[in-house]
Every structure is written in C-alpha cells, then in structure tokens.
C-alpha cells in the first residue's frame, strides 16, 4: 500500500497549513487516487473530454447533422469533408478489387446491405477510419458516420447533461437549503411539492413537458433549451431532498450556532457555512446524473420522440436509438437475402460509448462517495 512516489497522507497534511477547504479537496483526492475503479473511471472521462475538445477545435464536419455517406444530404450548405461525392459511381467497387479512388470504402448505394467494419489495413490508410461506414439507415439508404457521431456527439451530450445537472442542482440547493434551514411551514410546502414531483416517473414527466412545449421555440437553440428546461423541471426535486437532509444535519453544528450568536444574517449563514458544508452529497448525485441523463435522452429518442432539430443530430443517444430502430428492417432484409451481414456493430459501438460513459461516471461517483464519507474510507 505504501507507494513511495505518491506523497503520503501525513506529508500532504503537515507540509503547510492550507485553507481547510483546500485541505479537504486534497484529502478527497488522496482517497480517490487509492481507488482503482475510480481511477479507471477518471481515465475514461479524460478520454471523452479529449474527444470533445478534438471535436470542437479540430473536426470541422457539421456539428448539427451527421455526415450522410452515400445518400443525399438532408440539409443544404454542408461542407463535405470526405472526398467521396457521387458515392454511387465513384466509390462502388467489387470485393477484392483495388479501390478506384483513395478515400473510398465499399459502400454500395443501391443495395441496402450493411457493410461490416473492415479490418483491411489498406482501407485504413486511405483517409478517415472506416468507422464511417458503420451505421446504415436501411430504409432511406443513408449511411451515417458513427465516427462523426462519436466525435461531434460528445460535445452535445456532455453540454446538455452538464447544463441540466448544474441547473437542477442549483434550484435544489436553493430550495433545499431554505427548506432545511427555515423549517416549519416553508419546509412543509417545499417538501410536499418535491414529493409530488418525485412520484411522477422521470421519463413520463420529461415526455409530457417536451410534448407540450414542442415547437414553441423554433431553431436549434430553441429546441436545445426546451430539452434542457424539460429535464431541469424533472431533475430539481432529487437535489432538493438531498440538500434538505444534509442541511438538517449541518445547521445543528456548533460553528453555525456560533455564527448565529455573532449576529450573522440568514443569507450569510446559508451562503458561507451551511451550503458549502452540504455540497458533497450533491457532487456525488451530480456525477451520477451526468451519466444517467444521456441514457434517458437515448430512451426518449428511441421511443420516437424527436427532441433534436434534425433526425440525424450528432448525439450518442441518437446513434444508439437509430441503430436499434433499424434492426427490424435489417431483419426483414435478412429474411430475403440469407447472405446478408447482420449489422451488429451499429448496435454495439454506440451502445459501448454510452455504456463506457455512464459506467465511468458511476465508478467516479462511487469513489467520491467513499472518499467523502469518513466511515467508508478504507
């Protein structure tokens, strides 16, 4: 256990005396870095963050529509970064033949047979990874790029999930701390409303709000803000309950009593003492929800509710949901042509992306919980 390179707990705390909150953070990091699963989770999250940054700064494909490989473009004015115009003529070639153009993969426009991911290195050398030929919309002969969906979808998925969680936690923090600190009628009213919201299944509440608000604000950012708003309305109650429970404990502490005796106003006590000391369970819940929200968005899209402006919006949930929705037509096609390749990869890869993100977030929040709760430290 005694790692010689890493500074020991004692050394960290005794070197000099930093402010208590900094010391607390260092202590948390110390215990977090002893947890292998949490470190794995952090590693995966760093990878996803890198992908997001790469998508924002270096990948110039459209960030509102997935690249359509061989079909027609659904929107106008898109920059075609892949030099495969007229895919039907230029890029169709038989198995075993040399590709007629460098950035060409076996993508047949007319036949709705999905193309298996190739392991041929010659194809890899040509240009963008053949990951691009992964998702195929059989009904419309559109083949979307899973690679682009991953890179460009990262920013949307992370942005939406983060904003929802921060907004929900903010509202919950405000209401929960007031309810917990004031007590009495205020507490009763806030908590009963919270209970009512919590008894409506999250998926249904989001769906109802989105169905009512659908189309009320047009445009890309209008849609995104409706999405965020609907989820925030659904997500604040859980934070309110957590914060209230925590504040009930914190407000009985001696330092709060001392502050009150010194004549501090309510807002100062809440802002300086109670809220900062009730934050840690909120952080844990926030990290859990950042993983849960993309899954719920994916589920809503799977149900057929279009929450993004375009049907082929680059989002991890869209990719997974589209892949699953295309399975029936693939099965029907396979009934006709027994030599067809079942497109397993378009299920597995978006699924793995969502799974890795959610599970790494779970690992980190589990590690955080252990690190923040003195009783669980080992």
């Amino acid at each position: 256990m005694a790692a010689s390179s890493a500074p020991t707990y004692k050394a960290l705390t005794e070197k000099r005396r930093p402010s208590p909150r900094i010391a607390q953070m260092r202590r948390t990091w110390y215990f977090l870095s002893r947890n292998v699963l949490a470190l794995i989770g952090i590693g995966i999250l760093v990878f996803f963050a890198g992908v997001t940054l790469y998508g924002v700064f270096f990948d110039h494909s459209s960030s509102t529509e997935l690249q359509d490989y061989c079909g027609t473009y659904l929107g106008g004015g898109l920059e075609n970064t892949f030099p495969t115009p007229g895919c039907t003529t230029v890029c169709t070639y038989g198995e075993g033949m040399a590709p007629p153009a460098p950035n060409c993969y076996v993508v047949d426009y007319h036949e709705p047979t999905p193309i298996a991911p190739t392991l041929n290195v010659a194809h890899l050398a040509g240009g963008p990874l053949p990951l691009g030929s992964f998702t195929l919309d059989l009904s419309g002969s559109h083949s979307y790029s899973i690679y682009q969906g991953f890179v460009k979808g990262a920013q949307w998925t992370l942005l939406v999930a983060t904003v929802i969680v921060v907004a929900g936690a903010g509202i919950g923090l405000l209401l929960g701390s007031v309810a917990g600190y004031k007590g009495g009628l205020v507490d009763e009213v806030i908590m009963r409303v919270t209970d009512i919201f919590l008894s409506i299944p999250a998926l249904l509440l989001v769906l109802v709000i989105l169905a009512v608000a659908a189309g009320s604000i047009p445009g890309l950012w209008g849609r995104i803000s409706i999405l965020i708003g609907g989820f925030t309305v659904t997500w604040w109650p859980i934070y309110t309950r957590i914060v209230r429970g925590q504040v009930l404990v914190t407000r009985e502490q001696k330092y709060v009593e001392a502050s009150r005796a010194a004549g501090a106003k309510t807002m100062r006590i809440l802002g300086r003492h109670i809220i900062p000391n009730s934050m840690y369970p909120v952080f844990v819940q926030m990290s859990l929800d950042v993983g849960a929200i993309p899954l719920l968005i994916a589920a809503i899209i799977f149900l057929g509710f279009q929450i993004f402006p375009t049907p082929n919006f680059p989002d991890w949930g869209v990719m997974a949901a589209q892949a699953v929705n295309q399975i029936p037509s693939a099965l029907v096609y396979c009934q006709v042509d027994s030599s067809c390749i079942f497109p397993w990869w378009q299920l597995v890869i978006p699924g793995l992306i969502l799974f890795c993100f959610a599970i790494s977030v779970n690992f980190v929040s589990d590690g955080l919980r252990d690190a923040l709760d003195p009783r669980l430290r080992r």
């Binding site: 009963r192 009512i196 999250a202 769906l207 994916a298 149900l303 009934q335 959610a358 779970n362």
Partner: protein, 395 residues
Amino acid sequence: MKMWVYVIRRVLLLIPVIIGVMTITFSLVYFLPVQDKLISLYGPSKVGYNPMVPCNQLGIPQSGNCVNPTYVRGYHALGLDQPVFVQWAKYIWNSLTLNWGSTDSGSFASHQLGFSGTLPITTALAYLLPYTLELAAISLFIILVLAIPIGNYSAVYRNRPIDQAARVLSFSGFALPGFLLATILLLGVSSAMGAGIHCNGTADSFDYWYGSWPSNTCFPPSNRYPSFIGTYLQTSPTGFPTVDAAIAGNWALAADSIRRMLLPAFVIAFGSIAAILRFVRNSMLEVMNLDFVRTARSKGVPERTVVSRHAGRNSLNVTVTVLGLTFAAFIGGFPIIEDVFHLRGVGLMLAYSIQRPFDYGLIFGVTLLFTIIVVIANIVVDILYAYLDPRVRLG
C-alpha cells in the same frame, strides 16, 4: 399505533399527493393550444376546432371565413373563459371522476392501434392496464428471486468472485440503456435458440420471444396492429393474458404468454436489481456482525440457515424500502421495454401517442395513470414495511 390506524392514515395522505400531481398536469394542459384541448376532451369533430373556417364549410353562402360555432361551443363548454381557479377545480373534478377525455382519431396512436373514431381514454387504458400489471408482477417476482440471494451471498463472500460479479452487475445496471439491453438480449436469445432469426412463414425462435399473444404471424413490425382494442374486447374477459388463456383452458397459450413476458420482465427488473443489490449487500454486512448472528452460530445453526433465516430476514425489509424509492424509475421503464418487444400494454400506448401527430389526451392519461400507480405502490411499500418491521408503527 394499531396497524389499521396506520393504514388509514397513509391512505388519507394519498389524496393531497394525487391532487398535487393533477395540478402539475393541469398546469401543463393549461399551456396547450385551445384546439388540442378541445380534441383531447371531445375528440375531433367534423368541422374541426379552428376558430375561423371557410363559410361554405358551415353551409353559409358567403365567401371568406366565418366564426366556427363548434369552436365557440367547445370553448365555452370547456370553461376556457372562466378564471384559472375554476378551470383548475373542474380539471381536478374531471380527473377524480375518471373523466379523462377521449382519444384523437386523427393521431398516430389511434391509427396505429387500429380503432377508428374516438374512445374514452379510461376505457382504452382499462383494456391495456392488465397486461402491464402482469408484466410488472413477473418483473417484481424476478427482482425478489434474484436480488436478495445475490445480495446476501455477495456480502457473505465479500471481495470474492461472486461479490465482484455482483458489483459489476450492479454498475452495469445503471449504465446500460434498457432498450439496448432488451434488443441485444432478444436477438441473442432468439439466435441461441437455433432456427436463426429468419421467418419463412412459420413461427421461428424470434417469434417465440417477440410481441404479445395472439402470436405475430410473421416479423415485419412496421405493419400496424390489427384492431388493437377490438381483439382485446373479443378475446379477453379479464385482460390478463395468462389468466384469460387459463380460463379458456388453453394451457399452451398461457405458457406462451408467460414466456413472452420473461425477457421484458427481466430487462425491467435488471435496473432495480442493480440498485437493490448494493443496499442488500451493505445492510447484510452490518447485520452479519450483530450479536444475534453470533449467537445463532454458537448454537450450531448451519451457516446456510444463519444467512438465509437469521441475517437474511433483514434483506426483505431493505428490498422493500429500496423498491419503494425506485418504483418511479421502475414504472418509467415500461414504455421503452413494451416498445422494444411490442407488448400491448399501457407503455406501448404511450410510445404511440408521442408520435406526431400527438395524442395529448393519451399522453396525459398514461402519465396520470402511471403516477397514480407509483403513489399507490409507495403506500403499499410503507404498509408492508410497517408489517415487516414493527418498530415503524410505534414511531
């Protein structure tokens, strides 16, 4: 406190919560366009609910648009000219008396379910609810059968392979989207059963697991369902598929209906099992160190009995508590899973009603129904908990 006093008090507390839920749905309905409100409460009429319609449609020999009398009548009948509070009271009264409006014959859901004209929403839901309830019952059974033993043994064999496996299971339950797990399981099981996933006119292994009875003839699910409500009325006295088949004496069909629910019930249970496992394991770790367990061991009680009878008795309490906390999430999984497997329950109805054109009446109806189920389930959990743990009643 006596048990029945406790029960009555809990049931009385249900009323404000249900009124609160209805208030939330009312505030959402309030923002709907007037036309959608009229449709979801009265069904579409011939003239439609546009405020102004061409005069010749109304039989007035005049060019231009005229005020639509149907719109005006509906507007007044709905009381949209009255103050908000009166509208709210009316809405609550209608909701409590099961007057939830009617389906929209122009909506995607109506078209997909294959009934023409309008239908009271409560009627539609009443035919679909038994299927969902049976699915939920099987799912709860799977949770109880799997979560408690796995949780108990992962605590007993702490940090051994079974514990690690349980932890992985628990984590992946939070991280796998239900629809993906369902699809992969469906494809995997049906292809593992042999016969591939081809359908050549005869039922194959895919058909064994997909859809609700009566069996699908062949795969393409893009074909819409033949008269959804109609067949239900003719073939189902109770609506519970297994019970109906048993009443008809058709045991093969009863077995078939249960088999069709096994995979979806497992997928729905999976998320809850993940949450329950952790709590059962943690509580078991605490209980195993208590004095009565040591006493039981020193008496010479076999270890298996100690785990299952003495220490494990507590796990049921924990399971019931966590189920109560996660019941909303549990119910929220039904629309997705019923959509994947094409099971004719309330969830599939919701999945259809959120396709454009929306059926607002159905969306609100299903939401209200599921929320009422959650609220009632929470009370059942509280009562069960009080029954299992007498200390609760004393407090």
